[in-house]
């Protein structure tokens, strides 16, 4: 067997003790070892951002970091952001504004946006676009993603049941 090392990860408020290969990527530790499949892998060069999670409150690309580097850290994934019963304002805003289509980039997009709003609660459109530069989406053309982030910033997630577009 390949050599393994112990790692402690606090993920979404729960402590996990793992024995992992030193080369195991954080995203694979989350997905394959902990069954948290919300973070996705879309590339192998840190471009797409589908794997974005929070590490001690900062957005990181979990495909670009080893699980051992996250030893002892607090990790938040999309599964820890909100629940079906109590959605996070960004989740609600993505839903209301049709900010997703196939949904593959969405967890990473929402986590990147959450990091932005934590730092800058009232961003301009240009600031939102700049902040999401590291997250690729092929479906939406980003239009409704940007709208969703601005909406979340404005409404803090007040539910709009139906929205009629132009």
């Amino acid at each position: 067997m390949p050599r393994t090392v112990p790692v402690r990860l606090h993920v979404n408020g729960v402590e996990h003790r793992l024995e992992v290969e030193p080369r195991l990527l954080l995203v694979h530790a989350l997905r394959d070892n902990l069954g948290l499949t919300g973070a996705h892998v879309g590339c192998d060069t840190s471009n797409c951002g589908a794997c974005t999670v929070h590490l001690d409150g900062r957005a990181v690309k979990s495909c670009t970091m080893l699980a051992v580097q996250a030893d002892g850290a607090e990790v938040t994934t999309i599964e820890g952001l909100g629940t079906q019963e109590q959605l996070h304002p960004l989740q609600e805003a993505f839903w209301n504004n049709h900010g997703l289509q196939c949904g593959y980039c969405t967890p990473g997009m929402i986590m990147a946006a959450a990091a932005l709003l934590a730092e800058n609660p009232s961003p301009t459109e240009a600031e939102v676009r700049h902040a999401l530069e590291g997250n690729l989406c092929r479906c939406t053309g980003y239009h409704n993603i940007v709208r969703a982030v601005l909406d979340a910033a404005k409404t803090k997630g007040a539910t709009i049941q139906e929205e009629v577009s132009a």
Binding site: C48, H98, L100, Q101, G103, Y104, C139, G141, Y142
Partner: protein, 784 residues
């Protein structure tokens, strides 16, 4: 439907799909694992063209956790991968294409061996230990050189030509004879990647004579058929499931070697086998799109009347024919008349093999290329005539009263109102203000331009009598199925043979069924993408899902409603023709209080309280094959700024007015247009799959292959007109590809408009800073 209840169709309902997606609880292919599962990794060719001399897997087999290594020589059972286009009277050269290369490799990434083992990382390590000796052959990557050949990609063919195919109508020679002005342009539609953010993957589980296969595919039903044929199994023993699929854009409309290989390995080893592509693999082997070298000639009289349009296309198919490769450029030929009344139109297509990744359908599939030929050439003609490009368009538009309109090639456009969409566009675009701004910016050294694209496209693929073996030559009927099941409680499950993967049809289809059954869309569940449930289907591509699949659901729901009306009539002692859906009830006309809910009806149906001779239960199946295609259309405008010192182009404004017939859910339509437009802006400005002359891929990752990001793009301004399609009862046309079909021409025309003061009158995509700057320098040199 009475005035008391608004129909659900037409409302911007937020999506039923989203709760699982926004909480990270959706299940994509790589989220699925099975007990005893093995991982597969492929050994791929680093050579673009070579003979395989030897493969030594001994070191890989000794690697810890490795169970087996197979090569092409091991796959003695089964047939080559399918190509499903056989146009009557046309020879299409179709060399064998195997899941693992047998004697030679034809492009970088061609698979030569598969390694199976316990661990995701371990199989990749082991794959690197497989020693393959190659005898390199000369590669050919330039289609214009390839068509001259040798060298030949497939030596046994003695040519690189795949086929020749022409669609023409009217007297082309006469048309050009009558022309007083002819523009003749070399038009490049360069090679692009589908680049769905989810890489492909497959999980095959062969047990006790049956195969269940999960794949990130758009076409589970096609895949089941070909897996059964290639593995020599009954279709009843093969179940294909498309789980949540992370985007397709045509790149997952395929029967891929990896899918067949995973199934074959699972049967061979008696274990589930999973393969997940890396992005680097996808850039090498996931089928790509476009790659035309075209020549477009448009002739007109001085007054702007277009007399002839001729397009010659050299289409680079890469190394093999995939499932529909040679058909793709032909889809463009069907709409080569664009929105215009042109007496003579001809498209000549020559397909050619090169040592590159195969091409096939990518969003728009032949039609973005066609629009680019038409709309760019038309604005070139306008400049040549000294005429306003919009005036030239209006002069040649097929008038609204001509619909259904037969164009020169014999294709019949279902409905259209091109002046209306253009009028609406100009309500949003103030050309006087634009010109003023342009002058102001010029003094600051910024060059601003505006370009247009008025397009029509062909979608809603069906109709089988035209697309099928005796018609265009697709070896399948392209109808669509639906099954509507009302449960005991009145909840509804709709099974569709389409396989949406992000478009939102779980919501749109629920709206369609809900209106016809007197229920809320929230109690209508839409099931798709599983050949083990519901009837045979024809899947999702070609903007067909709503226009064909949605109509099948509408018709099926009406069948259910008809049975419900008979049951209600029986229970209320009324005549069935006097019962209609009124709000949430099947009620007697004029007496809305006298009625039954769908739950009441289902209760009666399943308890057997039905009219004499009627079967119990409340469930129906429909197969729908339309009479014609549908033809969405629209008018787009793009404004760009160019920095002449760097050649950098920025899209400042993008305004799109689209008409996809009757809107089922406007929110979803807008989303499709946004994404479609950006796909084409990507092609026009940023994206290009590049190979060097030895066939080495230069754009092997998302570092080198530049997808547009949020930071490069503006927000979009959209509007819509609704010209119903007469083809189906919904009046719907389809919208999944429209934005991509329209936009590359609008961007290119805008750039040329911006560059004219600098002496640049024409330029081909991709409009990268280097190319734009180079064109400006060349024009300066020419002026000296």
């Amino acid at each position: 439907m009475t005035a008391t209840a608004e129909p659900h169709v037409g409302r911007s309902l937020r999506r039923k799909e989203d709760p699982r997606l926004i909480t990270g609880r959706a299940r994509y292919i790589d989220d699925i694992a099975l007990p005893g599962m093995l991982w597969a990794a492929l050994v791929r060719s680093p050579e673009a063209h070579a003979k395989i001399v030897s493969i030594d897997a001994s070191a890989a087999l000794e690697h810890e956790g490795v169970h087996a290594v197979f090569t092409g020589a091991d796959m003695t059972d089964g047939g080559p991968l399918p190509m499903a286009w056989a146009p009557p009277g046309v020879e299409v050269r179709n060399p064998e294409h195997w899941p693992l290369a047998k004697d030679s490799v034809k492009h970088v990434g061609d698979p030569v061996a598969v390694v199976l083992g316990d661990d995701r990382y371990g199989v990749v390590d082991a794959a690197e230990l497989v020693a393959v000796e190659y005898d390199p052959l000369t590669a050919v990557t330039d289609p214009e050189k390839a068509i001259e050949g040798p060298p030949f990609v497939h030596e046994e063919l003695g040519t690189n030509e795949v086929h020749r195919w022409t669609l023409s109508g009217g007297d082309l020679e006469q048309g050009f004879k009558e022309a007083e002005v002819i523009v003749d342009r070399r038009v490049i539609n360069h090679r692009t990647a589908g680049a769905a953010i989810e890489p492909r993957g497959v999980l095959a589980d062969y047990r006790a004579g049956s195969l269940t296969l999960w794949s990130a595919t758009q076409v589970p039903h096609f895949l089941r058929l070909f897996l059964a044929l290639l593995l020599g199994m009954g279709e009843d023993r093969v179940r294909v499931i498309a789980p949540e699929v992370g985007g397709g854009f045509g790149s997952k409309l395929q029967v891929y070697g990896e899918e067949v290989l995973a199934a074959w390995c699972s049967r061979k080893l008696g274990r589930p086998v999973k393969w997940i592509a890396t992005r680097s693999e996808e850039m090498m082997v996931c089928h790509q799109g476009r790659d035309h070298v075209g020549r477009a000639r448009m002739g007109a009289k001085r007054d702007g009347t277009i007399t002839a349009f001729h397009v010659e296309i050299l289409a680079d198919f890469g190394a093999y024919n995939m499932i529909l490769t040679p058909l793709i450029p032909s889809l463009g030929a069907f709409v080569m008349s664009g929105c215009y009344k042109i007496p003579a139109v001809q498209t000549d297509i020559v397909g050619v093999f090169t040592n590159k990744c195969p091409t096939d359908a990518i969003r728009g599939a032949g039609r973005p290329e066609a629009t680019h030929y038409i709309e760019v050439t038309l604005e070139q003609l306008a400049a040549e005539l000294g005429m306003d490009p919009l005036e030239l368009r209006r002069k040649n538009f097929i008038p609204r009263e001509d619909f259904p309109a037969e164009v020169a090639t014999g294709v019949i456009y279902d409905s259209g109102d091109y002046d209306k969409t253009l009028d609406r566009l100009l309500e949003h675009v103030d050309l006087t203000a634009f010109r003023r701004e342009r002058e102001e910016l010029r003094s600051k050294g910024v060059y601003r331009g505006i370009g247009f694209s008025t397009y029509t496209e062909i979608c809603g693929l069906a109709p089988s009598r035209i697309t099928g073996p005796d018609g265009v030559g697709v070896q399948a009927g392209l109808w669509e199925s639906a099954m509507v099941r009302v449960h005991n409680t009145g909840a509804v499950t709709v099974y569709t043979g389409t396989s949406p993967h992000g478009q939102g049809e779980e919501t749109a289809f629920a709206q369609i069924a809900a209106d016809r059954l007197g229920v809320d869309p929230s109690v209508v569940e839409v099931v798709h993408g599983d050949t083990g449930t519901g009837p045979e289907g024809r899947n999702t591509y070609g903007s067909r899902t709503t226009a064909v699949g949605g109509e099948a659901i509408a018709r099926c729901a009406i069948k259910v409603a008809d049975k419900a009306r008979a049951i209600v009539a029986h229970k209320l002692e009324a005549a069935p023709e006097d019962i209609e859906v009124q709000g949430d009830k099947f009620a007697v006309k004029g007496s809305p209080e006298k009625g039954m809910t769908l739950a009441d009806v289902a209760g009666a149906a399943y308890i057997g309280d039905v009219p004499e001779g009627m079967e119990p239960g409340l469930e129906e199946t429909t197969f729908y094959d339309p009479e014609n295609f549908t033809f969405p259309f629209g008018a787009h405008a793009c404004v760009v700024d160019v920095d002449p010192d760097t050649g950098k182009v920025k899209v400042i404004r993008y305004v799109a007015v689209d008409d996809c017939g009757k809107a089922i859910n406007p929110l979803l339509i807008d989303g499709q247009i946004h994404g479609g437009v950006v796909h084409a802006i990507g092609q026009a400005l940023y994206e290009r799959v590049a190979y060097d002359e030895d066939g080495q891929l230069q754009t092997g990752t998302f570092v080198d292959y530049a997808l547009p990001t949020a930071a490069e793009l503006p927000s979009f301004e959209l509007d819509r007109t609704e010209t119903p399609s007469p083809v189906n009862s919904l009046g719907a046309k389809g919208v999944g590809e429209a934005g991509t079909i329209a936009a590359s021409a609008a961007v290119t025309n805008a750039l040329i408009d911006a560059l004219r003061p600098l002496g640049v009158t024409y330029i081909n995509m991709p409009l990268t800073p280097m190319r734009v700057w180079g064109a400006i320098q060349e024009a300066k040199g020419g002026a000296q």
